[in-house]
């Protein structure tokens, strides 16, 4: 038999072996961030504008349905989206840099607000349990929360440096547990309300002087009527953090992508309204106002558990469940803040507006450790400065949430006009068709609400305005300077647009990769030209991800004897970047393999036979044509076929626009 001496280095691209996830898992990833605000939003809003808070938290959660719709349209438009990509496409890089700077500010706050809240809930529980264990120790709530928050931050800093990804399975388990706790809490609350009766909370917000911010200097700006509603809405909008996570997770949603995205969005909405909106509302019906403002201000849902109708041990048990679910969810949100900020900054770096220094990969773990370190340091500083004061954190929060949501919505409106010919699988509702443009009336209404709240928050949330603007200015400056430095470098070297850091694994032989192919069927898709992937798209469109391994092979011609020192060029990386993008678009897993060989057909046949491929799908070659491609493959196939090989039928297909040629390899 022909030996393998001409088959050289084998590289396996591991970043592209994305394991696509179900809509349940996608929803749970988002909810671990989005839903965690249930544990602190009510208390913070109560402190700001009094007993009317449940109406506004419920209103914000209903408004989240509209925002989820906005993000659904932007996700469908951009598989690898997020606010940076959407805003850059619609408004250019300057605005994109501004929006992403604001977003990073909120990611920097998500970690501290979540970890401190978890610490406060845990501290509150220990305060109740200690006497039962005859331990005479008063838990210093805020100090305990700070220590706990620092431990959690350190833990996730280490995990993110090591590149240990929290699996979506864990998120699903957490959300499952939280859902069970929520159902118990809702049921028991219903029983309590039935026994005790209830009075609906007042509708009119009553602002503290602190919550009015700079507006106290403008007497003509009365905090009543529509102005008051907008102010209260602005103070409650922090319950909406986590939408950017949806944009980040969309690339991982499995096929059929759009349908699954819609299912995920509906699940998120229902859960959020019931969990954050309804539970906060019920808390206000059951817990006396003075206790909400005092004893339970920092752990509202613990307060709900403890104020239910029933024996103390039962209520304490319910508090244990609430705290456990809260800690799990809030701690998950800390991780999301690391992953989210790291992801957003990497996306920005790919676009050349963050200096390569930031993207330096950890020698051992291959992670962008400098970005992770920066996020960790910022979060630690914020935790220490807050001193465990959740209201201070809440006061600072939501600047970036509102800014990124406003930019995202405005961008979608602009894109409706700029990319008017692009087919959209789904559009945010209420559109007026004029010529070939869908005028987005619905989006415009949402933007009006967002801009009102953004404008009002600038005046009322002083900490958020000062902190957010300062932080945004610093990050904007970093982006601006980085971009200038990268542009200078680009003039000296070749430009490197849309380049992503590929995580490559070098293997000595293709046989070592074969055990990773575990599905019933295997389709081999050779690729060469990033602009000619019609055949890969055809495979991705029809293949069943559950049962089919899709191996994408790129063979580079390398003449001469094996040296072992071959490396991938930028052109080769470009091919794989295009493959990864396409796989993400269809939500199907691919296994990209890159080999050095002196005959591409030889490597195709070798990989196909080693992998036990059922099908080889090629794109048409402009230089030779489909028939010659088939002939060469047939010869390479026969040459490598072992006499004792099983007579398994293997299809060879050449696919090009609107046509295909299919034969069987013998």
């Amino acid at each position: 038999m022909v030996p393998n001496q001409r088959f050289k280095q084998v590289f396996v691209l591991s970043t592209a072996m994305l394991s696509f996830i179900s809509f349940w898992k996608a929803a749970s990833v988002v909810l671990c961030d989005f839903g965690s605000s249930a544990y602190y939003a009510g208390g913070i809003a109560m402190k700001a504008f009094g007993p009317a808070f449940p109406w506004f938290i419920l209103g914000v959660m209903l408004f989240s349905g509209l925002m989820l719709g906005v993000y659904t349209e932007s996700c469908i438009l951009f598989v690898r989206g997020g606010v940076y990509v959407v805003v850059r496409e619609a408004m250019g890089k300057v605005m994109a840099k501004f929006s992403v700077s604001a977003l990073v500010f909120d990611y920097a706050l998500t970690g501290p607000i979540s970890s401190v809240t978890a610490g406060l809930y845990l501290g509150g529980l220990l305060e109740n349990i200690m006497p039962l264990l005859h331990i005479n120790w008063h838990v210093p709530g805020r100090a305990f929360a700070v220590v706990f928050a620092l431990i959690v931050t350190a833990y996730f800093w280490r995990e993110n440096i090591r590149g240990v990804e929290e699996s979506a399975d864990n998120n699903l388990k957490i959300i499952g547990f939280v859902a069970v706790v929520a159902v118990l809490l809702l049921g028991w609350s219903g029983y309590t309300l039935y026994h005790r009766g209830f009075t609906l909370p007042p509708l009119a917000p009553v602002f503290t002087e602190e919550a009015l911010g700079w507006t106290v200097h403008f007497p003509w700006l009365k905090a009543v009527g529509i102005i008051g509603i907008i102010m209260a809405f602005g103070h409650s909008i922090l319950a909406l953090s986590g939408l950017e996570t949806l944009a980040q997770v969309y690339r991982e949603i499995e096929d059929p992508k759009v349908r699954n995205l819609k299912k995920a969005v509906v699940s998120i909405f229902i859960f959020s309204v019931l969990f954050t909106g309804l539970l906060t509302f019920i808390s206000a019906l059951i817990i006396p106002s003075d206790l909400i403002a005092g004893k339970y201000a920092e752990n509202l849902l613990s307060g709900l558990a403890l104020e239910l109708q029933g024996p103390y041990w039962g209520r304490l048990g319910m508090q244990v469940l609430v705290v456990l679910s809260g800690v799990l969810m809030l701690v998950g949100a800390v991780n999301t803040s690391f992953v989210g900020a790291n992801g957003v900054l990497n996306r920005v770096a790919e676009d050349g507006i963050l200096h390569d220094w930031f993207r330096h990969l950890h020698k051992k773990y291959g992670t962008t450790h400098r970005i992770v370190n920066i996020i960790a340091v910022i979060q630690v500083v914020i935790i220490l400065v807050s001193g465990g004061d959740i209201f201070l954190l809440g006061e600072a929060y939501a600047f970036g949430v509102l800014a990124s949501m406003s930019f995202n919505t405005a961008s979608l409106i602009i894109l409706r006009f700029r990319r008017r010919d692009e087919e959209r699988e789904w559009m945010f509702p209420i559109n007026l068709r004029y010529n070939n443009v869908y005028i987005p009336v619905g989006l415009m209404a949402v933007l009006a609400v967002l801009l009102s709240a953004t404008g009002m928050n600038l005046f009322t949330k002083k900490v958020a305005t000062i902190g957010g603007l300062a932080f945004t200015a610093v990050f904007y400056a970093i982006f601006h300077i980085s971009e200038a430095m990268n542009e200078k470098k680009a003039r000296l070297y070749a430009p490197d647009e849309d380049n992503e850091k590929l995580n490559l694994r070098r293997e000595a032989d293709i046989q070592t990769v074969v055990p990773e192919l575990t599905k019933d069927r295997c389709v081999l898709v050779p690729v060469r030209n990033p602009n000619n992937l019609v055949h890969l798209a055809a495979v991705l469109e029809t293949a069943d991800d559950e049962t089919t391994d899709i191996v994408v092979l790129s063979a580079k011609i390398a003449k001469g004897i094996q040296s072992g020192g071959e490396t991938m060029s930028e052109e080769d990386r470009e091919v794989f970047s295009a493959v990864v993008l396409l796989a993400e678009k269809y939500g199907k897993t691919v296994k990209p393999i890159f080999v050095f060989s002196n005959d591409p057909f030889f490597s195709m046949a070798q990989v196909a036979q080693a992998a036990g491929a059922d099908e080889i799908v090629m794109g048409v070659s402009g230089s030779t044509g489909a028939e010659i491609q088939m002939e060469r493959l047939a010869m390479a196939w026969g040459m490598l076929k072992k006499p004792d090989a099983p007579a398994k039928p293997v299809l060879a297909r050449v696919v090009w626009e609107g046509r295909q040629m299919t034969y069987q390899l013998s």
Partner: protein, 156 residues
């Protein structure tokens, strides 16, 4: 899709009459020319001399020597109804300039240019490349008799 056709066998195309031993160390083009000359009488009446030589020369530019050191110049003609082949054995061999591989056996294969025949054409190419492995080529190069060569290949 065209299903795989049965009935592809080497004994149908290789017989002592169409095995040629080529002495010396010709270039690839010279070796192909010699096989084309040997092919001409087998397809006379179906394909003219010029058409045959022109077509073979044209497709020869697209053909490649296999990793095993075996070479299959092949062409398709609408006038044909079945395979025609001439096997060349070059004990001294020649070195292919493109790949650097040593070639000591090559077969000129003509096939019908008909869509329905293309699957059989592919099967024949696959069978030939599967059969002519370096071990067989070594043995063929050591022979001097076309009948012995044909018998070694077909097992008869």
């Amino acid at each position: 899709m065209i299903k795989q056709s049965d009935g592809i066998s080497l004994s149908a195309i290789i017989s002592p009459e169409n095995v040629v031993f080529i002495s010396g160390s010709p270039s690839k083009e010279e070796a192909v020319l010699q096989l084309t000359e040997a092919m001409l009488p087998r397809v006379s009446g179906l394909i003219g001399r010029k058409a045959l030589f022109d077509r073979v020369a044209e497709v020869e530019k697209l053909n490649q020597v296999l990793e095993s050191g075996f070479y299959i110049p092949h062409a398709k003609f609408p006038e044909l109804d079945g395979f025609h082949a001439v096997l060349g054995i070059i004990p001294e061999g020649f070195t292919d300039q493109t790949t650097g591989l040593k070639v000591r056996a090559l077969i000129l294969l003509l096939s019908p240019h008909k869509p329905a025949f293309f699957q059989r054409h592919l099967n024949m190419l696959s069978l030939l490349s599967q059969t002519f492995q370096p071990e067989l080529i070594d043995k063929l190069a050591a022979l001097k008799d076309p009948a012995a060569a044909a018998a070694l290949i077909t097992g008869k």
